[in-house]
């Protein structure tokens, strides 16, 4: 898949994903958005096809603006954007028919029970009343609000409101689920539940997900592709799945009794090494296997306390993209 062909972007990558959907989920061609004299999004160009796409970036990077533009809330001032093949300027209604959106901020109707709220939202998406009611119950079961579904939304805790927002986003059977900071304000266990739920929805393979967050763990735990924005520009594109596979030859050792001789022996095999205290990071050369490392360690009486395959974490990727 060709991605991020972006003049001015900090970094770009070209990668291939097998069994990619025929129509890109998001396709941007020089997209710019301006509020007054402020350029919020600047000349974004990319094509994203993953089943779960993460939008990352520091606060104010333009993530939410990009999502709102894709939903047709903000008009682009330049370039074009397509969602599931539909133009955001001309085919907003078609896009909205296929989308389930969970906004970042509080969004509910206080004097309404969760089931009525989700039913109404499903009806507004076009479901007949009876089907909407059934789907509302099912969506609330699905997100884990079954016991509280007849309670008024105004009485819900923050975590429950987040789940209710997720329920209204999936009740009408969207093809694309856009989640804007879904774990905002959640305690660790509620966050875990939310992430698990997003993964379950992703793994159902019935819809695609765009997850917007400034929390790296959320994106790392759920997404296959990541687009990092910084100051309204694309700072980096990364296909996490591909990187996970590619970094299988990146090893991190924690040793006892290692000296320069051990490192030298490994380097003679053609591996690149970096030593910090008792830790040794290396990239295995072609033809070199882990058993060779164990053999060299045994020959030199070096004990290997820990051996991990270590890939770049999303944090590493993010920090690189931010130029830090």
């Amino acid at each position: 898949m060709s991605t991020v062909i972006q003049p001015g972007a900090a970094e770009s990558t070209s990668q291939t994903v097998t069994a990619a959907p025929p129509v890109p989920v998001i396709e941007l061609q020089g997209l710019s958005v301006r509020f007054g004299k402020r350029d919020i999004l600047k000349d974004l160009t990319c094509s994203l096809r993953g089943r779960a796409i993460g939008l990352l970036g520091p606060n104010g990077a333009g993530k939410s603006t990009l999502i709102n533009t894709l939903l047709g809330f903000y008009p682009p001032t330049g370039g074009s954007a397509r969602v599931l093949g539909f133009d955001v300027r001309r085919e907003t209604r078609s896009i909205r028919r296929l989308i389930g959106y969970m906004p970042e901020n509080d969004a509910f109707i206080s004097k309404m029970s969760a089931v009525s709220f989700v039913q109404m939202m499903a009806e507004l998406s076009g479901l007949p009343s009876a089907a909407a009611l059934e789907r509302a119950h099912e969506a609330l079961f699905c997100v884990g609000l079954a016991e509280a579904r007849y309670r008024e939304l105004g009485t819900y805790s923050l975590g429950m409101k987040q789940l209710a927002k997720l329920a209204q986003a999936i009740a009408h059977g969207a093809k694309l689920l856009i989640l804007d900071e879904p774990t905002n304000g959640l305690d660790p266990s509620a966050r875990q539940r939310m992430i698990r739920m997003i993964r379950d929805i992703r793994d159902s393979k019935q819809l695609q997900i765009v997850l917007c967050s400034h929390l790296l763990r959320d994106v790392e735990d759920t997404c296959e592709e990541v687009l990092i924005l910084n100051q309204g520009r694309i700072a980096h594109y990364s296909n996490l799945e591909e990187e996970r596979k590619a970094n299988k030859r990146f090893l991190e050792l924690e040793t006892y009794g290692a000296n320069g001789d051990f490192t030298e022996a490994i380097e003679k095999l053609g591996c690149e090494c970096a030593v910090t205290a008792n830790r040794l990071k290396m990239i295995l050369a072609d033809g070199v296997e882990v058993r060779d490392i164990y053999r060299i360690a045994a020959e030199r009486d070096v004990r290997i306390r820990r051996l991990n395959f270590r890939r770049d974490t999303l944090e590493d990727i993010f920090l690189k993209a931010m130029g830090n």
Binding site: F35, G36, K37, R38, N68, L71, F73, Y74, R93, S94, R96, R97, I99, Y101, P103, N105, D106, A107, F108, I109, S110, K111, M112, S116, M120, M121, E123, L124, S125, G126, L127, P128, A131, R135, H137, E138, A139, F141, C142, A146, K165, Q168, I170, H172, G173, A174, K175, D200, I201, S204, Q206, L207
Partner: protein
Amino acid sequence: MAVYRRTYTSYVGPLTPSWSRSLVLFRYSRRKLFRSKFQTGLFVLCFFFPLGCLLTIYLAHNLSFLERFGGVSASFISIDNKFFLTFLGVQGVLAFVLTAFAGPGLISPDLANGALPLYFCRPFSRAEYVLGKASVLAILLSQITWIPGLVLFAVQASLAGTAWTWDHFWIAGSLVLSSFIWIAVLSLLAMALSAWVRWRIVAGALLLAVLFFGAGFGQAINAVMHTQSGRFFDIGYLMTIVWTSLFRVENEGPITSGQAWIALLIYCAICLALLVRKVRAYEVIK
């Protein structure tokens, strides 16, 4: 997505036509409105005066019944344009009171709780949203203004005969048109104010203030500046001028019906502009 399985499945059933989405909003908003006993009570109260008018029309056509009660003459009860104007005047006040309580609850909770992005991320436009919400007020107010008005007219027509009906048929049109204007002004005003302040109680108070303090403010301007232009701030007065012209009742006020029409249209345009500005998924801060 069966309940027992608790896993996500997509929806493959039929969809409703696009034009029917406003009706969804209307249905839910109306149901919510009548969940309040106070609102329901107020709505029921609005039918007492039409019932009184109905009785009056009956008595006016049954002189013998009246004379049985101490020789009361029916001549003072004249069922004409002024009778229907009075009916609409009273019902108009009740419509205003009903709007002050029911109107702000339609939009302000959505704005206060940030629900608008949830509406507009669906195949549902801002115009449809306003239409859906306004239709709640429009139908509610219709039920207490022109619909009972037409019922009274029909009863009077059936009792007075064909000649009276043909001579006074224009009254039915005036009833409907006058009610439509008042409903439009009240609905737009209520929705614009509740969209602006986002707090239901304040929006209700503001609506009362616009009508009552507007009149007071206008009087103050008249007194200070020795003019009659302050009357343009009195929406109730402007409405009365329009109604009197529609009901062919003489108006000797300082403002002509044409000026009153223009002033009301300007008020409606301002309300629409406020709604266009405020009813959107996210406000753009430039």
